[in-house]
Subunit: 163 residues, 2 copies
């Protein structure tokens, strides 16, 4: 929400305009603000399918990589194992995926999407693609690719720095 410029505001001693100008110089702040905004629209796009962002993501990697184990899903999505349990539970309860026993390792489950899961994923993916087109209406494909590369470079640099 932008605060409109006001002439001498008699309610305080502040300047004519208020702003988050200093914060806006930080890449991190702009990334956060962009993500919050995107997330809000994406959540609305996924609501008809009763999927949250993280359940959609988990379903997506399971559809894409049949036979995944839970620890691998957690690694791929950078989610802690304990937090993934309820997500997988939910997908299984809705019969979008199945947990199949792994013959050679009785501790592990092999995750597979059901037909229903695949179909829901397909429909939801169309909604996500529509959402994506909405959030960068004027970007050409080359710009988007470049932007993604830069975001990935930042992700990697921050991860290296944090490690």
């Amino acid at each position: 929400m932008t605060i409109s410029n006001t002439k001498k505001n008699d309610k305080s001693t502040q300047l004519d305009t208020i702003s988050d100008y200093s914060l806006r110089k930080f890449l991190g702040y702009n990334i956060k603000r962009a993500f919050n905004s995107v997330q809000s629209d994406l959540q609305r796009s996924l609501k008809p399918f009763d999927l949250r962002m993280v359940t959609y993501s988990a379903l997506s990697v399971i559809v894409e990589n049949p036979g995944l184990r839970q620890a691998q899903v957690a690694d791929l999505l950078d989610i802690e194992r304990p937090n993934l349990v309820v997500i997988i539970d939910k997908l299984q309860q809705r019969e979008l995926i199945v947990r199949a026993p792994v013959k050679t390792d009785r501790r592990a489950y092999s995750l597979h999407a059901t037909l229903m899961g695949i179909q829901l994923h397909e429909k939801a993916s169309k909604a996500v693609h529509a959402h994506e087109r909405r959030i960068y209406p004027n970007f050409d494909q080359k710009m988007v690719k470049q932007l993604i590369l830069e975001l990935n470079a930042i992700e990697q640099a921050a991860r290296d720095s944090d490690a």
Copy 2:
């Protein structure tokens, strides 16, 4: 964490490589992953000052806009008013800001940073700038500006779409 390519994994029926390739095509997913990574490093950078991202942000806009009212801070940072209360409480308890009465509106408080608040903000800002330099080591100033413009365009488009 990238999953290294493995030769025939006998633990499952999966392909040779597993990936989040489909998700990586989405700008939103890459923004989220980048932000998570950045956030983690930033939190570590702010820890010596006992500041969280949101407390630093609030302190920052109060330092920059003396006399702000709480509702204006909430608008600037896109935080719900109720959630801001505890943040402002914390800053006030640490004597980094003061809540001054507004003579012309007895419902409102006028927020000002104390000398201590200004000094802590200065030191913390140096740490944040150092953090920022770490997370995009190879970007020149022009690239960063362009990236911020694109992120702002996305933020705005998603907000318009979501409204």
